[in-house]
Symmetry: C2
Subunit: 207 residues, 2 copies
């Protein structure tokens, strides 16, 4: 009887602060059986991106072969590039009792939820449309056209928030991190996981 | 669209520290929309027990009438005395967005879970049989015979722990309180509750 990790599907519109929240949570819970799944992609690495850390960068032929071998939980083609979540690495982590974050959109989330009904969905929303637009502008890396396009994409992504189990509204960052942590910590106290974790003392107690 | 509270069924063998844990949690979250349901009973008040606070003390005729009117979520007769959980007060609290703790045994828990499938069960266990026996002895209020009887009852109650959603092992008291709190805090972030709580800003955000 071994402890199994929980798979968390984390989605948010671009600019909601998802990456910063995940990063802060991982830092707070260092070594505490929590990791982010690394996706496979056929797109080129951007400056600073490290293979195996930000993505597994693979060629299109390899990606197609992985699709053919049913290696992906979910995959999608976005602007001519492929993105996918490999089953093998995630299943290995979960089997070791590690909770895994899957950072994917609502379409990928639906696919994963179907394959892994025990997974938990967490959606992150910005506090307001103004705040979202402000955050996209503050990045300073996109033109007005791109920002307008991202806002439209955000509206579309956000309309699916109610397909998720948990909802975090990222207004105050520290509070949002605490809420994120409380969801994980609370889930870890489910009876199945606790029974596996404490099976020796439970066997003695209930003998 | 208003926020609805969650009904928590909390069970434990006598001596597991349930009352102390609930008390500590309520103190920590004072005014934070959390309360313990007060049961009805036909037994006589013990020294220090206050009507309406520890129990609603009622006569047998009144209790029987409440049974006939289907006023109880669950009720039971224990050693000739009746104990029951009134629906009305709990439903009123939940409708106000208050989370309610129901401190009942596994038999009552089954009845409530059937009537309120959205309720969450939390079971509290002692870390070991020795610790449980020690705690029962430290109370200093019971004879060896009574303690032996309570230990047998505890074994019976504990055998139902896996019918509950969450499990807390009360070894370190402070940690157990923190875990108790994390379960409540995590549950409060479920999408349904969050949608109701933030419906004004969500309507603006998603318009």
């Amino acid at each position: 009887m071994s402890v199994t990790g929980t798979l968390y599907i984390v989605s948010a519109p671009s600019g909601a602060g998802k990456s910063s929240l995940i990063k802060a949570l991982l830092e707070q819970t260092q070594g505490n059986a929590l990791q982010v799944s690394v996706s496979h992609t056929t797109r080129d690495p951007r400056p600073g991106e490290v293979n195996g850390q930000h993505y597994h960068f693979v060629g299109k032929a390899e990606f197609q072969q992985m699709i053919a071998q049913d290696d992906f939980f979910e995959w999608a083609e976005v602007f001519g590039n492929f993105y996918g979540t490999s089953k093998k690495a995630i299943e290995a982590s979960l089997a070791q009792g590690i909770d895994v974050f899957l950072d994917i959109d609502w379409q990928g989330a639906r696919q994963v939820k179907q394959l892994m009904p025990a997974s938990k969905g967490i959606f992150i929303l910005p506090p307001s449309r103004e705040a979202l637009e402000q955050r996209l502008q503050n990045r300073g890396q996109d033109s007005d056209d791109v920002i307008a396009k991202r806002m439209a994409e955000a509206q579309s992504e956000m309309s699916h928030y109610n397909e998720y189990d948990f909802l975090i509204i990222n207004d105050d960052f520290e509070q949002a991190v605490a809420e994120f942590g409380a969801i994980i910590q609370g889930q870890r106290l489910n009876t199945e996981r606790q029974s596996a974790l404490h099976h020796v003392s439970l066997a003695q107690l209930l003998a």
